[in-house]
Symmetry: none
Subunit: 542 residues, 2 copies
């Protein structure tokens, strides 16, 4: 997306962050990886760790070496391959087994052998879980906490304690929950992180508990899940109540509804509460790093994510577009540049001249008054016919370029195409398409088969055009969306097709509208390849 020309520069944090006064503790690689469908290789984990370090988090929890062989390998490779500049690695693990000795426990040994300077020990703080999950006594659980923490501290590690199911445990038996915190602190735990493991807390109740536990004098952390949609607010409430260590995950990845989104927490702490939780200037990397981690995780970035989403500062400006242009700060809770994001004015049926001017400027096109009027009229006419340029950045750019130069960028001209789809008597469904087109004075005819009519048409077009433009092979169709627009009846309505295409460096979206879904798909495909070829070489155009 084009950077907004109106955005003033981001204020940078006034001072570097003191390394230990406030902890930003990332658990993407351990708790975040519990997200349904997410699977990270060791290589993925190393790459994500580098991104998190670049952002400037204080701690990166790399995994549970005592439970997962892949995590053993992560810590082994991390020692030789990761050169962290800001972050400290933490290994996660459980207290020793009941009625055993921490020094002899193989799971605890795996924590020591990870080489991580910080060990985060998870312990039960809920009497029901001690009995049902650990199947031991309340006294033995306390001994397990004390022994494990003492042992690891004695081995020269810094130990944090994750008090699992803390808030539910506190509701059931506050004295016991507090005793776990006390025992861990006395054994040498530097932080006790209170965990809302089931994620059901609301900020008010949670803050009361944190404040009460704080009276013990332990340094407290907070670990929240988003099952009530309040993970970020709960984390902030805990900080207000005295916690100085926040746990969360990149983009809020995690089991069920996810963990607290660490990026939202960081931005709120830094920009709303003036806590410099990242090194100087790093906050402006937030959007880029959020998207980079999403790429590694192979999860589409959430466009509506606070601060970092592609839509987070996108305005369907409508009547107020001129006001937004003059005073963007009146329509945004902060300057998007502060988190490395951009304001976007969406081209929509209500928007007008100002949007077109802004977008033209972002593309480096000189638009005079007359051209702007022409474009606004053309956009209105197309939107009335069913087009939507909000998502179709490439089609909009082609339209702007056409109006500025007086001629559409064109790499071929169509003679005809034909698509046949057949459900044969045996039940087999087959699709076949033939495309005939002209380019550079030659005629190209090609036939493609596909598992659907648009796929067949796409293949035929690539075959025909690829003879002249071998670069087409590097273009990839990434997404295809169909939207049926209002009509008198369901199947004779107007159809809008959006096609997302990429060449490994950039992605762009094109739109086609027609009362025939195949014709609409053709239009979007033809623009997708035109835009791709335009990127590859402006001089190729005839």
């Amino acid at each position: 997306m084009p950077p907004s020309p109106l955005a003033p520069t981001a204020p940078t944090a006034p001072t570097p962050v003191p390394t230990d006064a406030f902890h930003v503790y990332d658990t993407t690689l351990r708790d975040g990886a519990q997200r349904e469908g997410l699977s990270l290789s060791v290589q993925d984990k190393l790459t994500i760790a580098r991104h998190l370090d670049e952002l400037g988090v204080g701690f990166i929890e790399g995994g549970w070496p005592g439970a997962n062989p892949k995590d053993v390998e992560f810590f082994r490779r991390a020692q030789s391959e990761l050169r962290l500049t800001t972050a400290t690695l933490a290994a996660f693990g459980a207290t020793r087994r009941p009625n055993a000795i921490a020094a002899d426990d193989p799971q605890v040994a795996a924590l020591r052998e990870s080489g991580a300077p910080v060990i985060t020990v998870v312990a039960k703080a809920h009497t029901g879980h001690v009995r049902a999950a650990l199947r031991t006594t309340l006294e033995e659980n306390l001994a397990m906490v004390a022994d494990t923490v003492t042992h690891l501290v004695g081995e020269g590690r810094r130990v944090f304690l994750d008090a699992e199911h803390f808030f539910d445990g506190y509701a059931l038996d506050p004295a016991y929950a507090l005793e776990v915190v006390q025992v861990a602190t006395e054994a040498g735990a530097a932080v006790v992180a209170l965990c809302d493991t089931n994620g059901g807390m609301l900020p008010g109740q949670l803050a009361d508990v944190v404040a009460h536990v704080g009276e013990l004098g332990s340094r407290l952390g907070i670990h929240c899940h988003d099952d009530a949609g309040c993970a970020v607010a709960n984390t902030l409430a805990a900080v207000d109540a005295g916690a100085t260590h926040v746990q969360g995950t990149a983009n809020g990845y995690g089991e069920r509804c996810g963990n607290a989104n660490l990026f939202t927490v960081i931005a709120n702490l830094a920009l709303k509460q003036g806590r410099p939780v990242l090194p100087d200037g790093n906050l402006a990397e937030l959007s880029r790093i959020s998207h980079a981690i999403a790429e590694v995780a192979n999860i589409a970035p959430e466009p509506h994510a606070p601060y970092v989403g592609g839509s987070a500062f996108a305005h369907k400006a409508g009547l107020h577009v001129s006001a937004i242009k003059v005073a963007p700060e009146m329509y945004q809770h902060l300057d998007p540049a502060a988190v490395g994001n951009d304001m976007r004015l969406l081209v929509s049926e209500l928007a007008g001249r100002a949007t077109v001017e802004l977008r033209g400027r972002a593309l480096g096109l000189e638009l005079d008054r007359e051209a702007t009027t022409r474009i606004v009229d053309r956009v209105k006419e197309l939107e009335a016919a069913g087009y939507s340029f909000e998502a179709a950045d490439a089609s909009f750019e082609l339209l702007l370029r056409t109006e500025v130069s007086g001629d559409a960028p064109r790499f071929f001209s169509l003679e005809s195409w034909r698509v046949i789809v057949e459900h044969r008597p045996g039940g087999e469904v087959v699709s076949e398409a033939t495309v005939k087109l002209h380019a550079k004075g030659e005629r190209f005819v090609a036939t493609g088969e596909g598992n659907g009519p648009v796929n067949a048409l796409d293949r035929a077009l690539r075959l025909a055009l690829g003879q002249l433009h071998p670069g087409l092979a590097s273009l990839d169709l990434l997404d295809y969306k169909v939207r049926i627009l209002e009509g008198a009846h369901g199947t004779d309505a107007v159809t809008r097709v959006l096609v997302a295409t990429g060449d490994g460096e950039a992605e762009w979206t094109t739109v086609g509208v027609h009362d025939n879904v195949i014709a609409a798909s053709w239009m979007a495909l033809a623009e997708a390849y035109t835009y791709g070829l335009l990127r590859q070489s402006a001089v190729d155009a005839d």
Copy 2:
């Protein structure tokens, strides 16, 4: 203190909700529709309104009739077509223009003419916005509020005031912001909803402001956006501080990062705070209605959404799977059945039975244990292949009937079909379909033309089948939706088609899934007509 997770879950509200003590006000159709890429037809809006009414919200804001011709049509059709049982319709609009008279203002006239019993008037409460966006004086803005509210109250409407940019305005000039609230209340506004229009507030600060404004004695509402990831928590904080009217949108749809997710707010209020904000028993419909609205909006349901997401109670159980099975309440913040969701253990799926039993009972079908198991297995298999029955009620009923009777209701059997779509050298696009089928021992062949392949196929099918079933002529295709499901590449992915059909008395939806969009459409069309014929006459079936 938090409620104990070990306590029995989800008490249902002991009494029906008093209609006016607490307002659940939905603005999906107006503010939610500002979401980037979301475009709702009038038909979509009517369908969503029905779903919201079924859920039991108190108010449905239908649109801005003075600004959008489509919204005028919505209110016109709503008067004749919507039969709301719980909800009251609200029309949204602005105060009159500066230096004019409300009674003569065309935009205010459109509000009156909408026929909506409630009018929500948006007003500026921020001095900067009054000057820059309205370009009027602070005094005239107050006059605009007073005049518009007084006029509409005088016309017999209940008036709510949306105080736009309230919190930012309050930060800048608290006296003026309070004056707007006071003036609106004195003019007769029943509620003043304080809007965090830019979405940047955090719960603590927001609650302080709401409490302070509450001292004026006005009835307060709250309208939040999620730009700081705190929209739900902010809404709850406002309620704690005295607001008795909450605004939000289905699934949190809305501009930028979205509005407060009304479904999360409702579940938190009802299940965490014991406020019976929905009619008795309706909360168990929450997940179903959330997904049905997502289907209408053509937005994939968010799997990680609190309460209603497909992953919201999905456990990567790992070591704890047996503990979860024995005591699920120790691992979940509440019983998922309370919101119509299911626990899922990702190692061994348990979902479904209860839903199938409920739906079977609703249709008057006797389902024994074995039939239920068979249906659950079949649904799982189909959903894994891309089917979704949440919106496709008729396809689900056909599936249930097939499993109960051992045979599918069937009015014809297919021999073959073929569709040809051609872009001819002159630019004309033509579609033609031929259908061959057998019914009552006869063979029927028909060819249809249409403005698209599915329309042609529909016409051919109606022609062929109509010879035997003249009643088919009374069936009308109302809507046709295509969703491309995840695949390796855009155009070779699996396609899901939903077809909505009506016969003047009822509407039903069918689903087809295939990697070929035409074949998926055929499946949905064939089920649509099968269901329609089944309604017309059970005895006709052979």
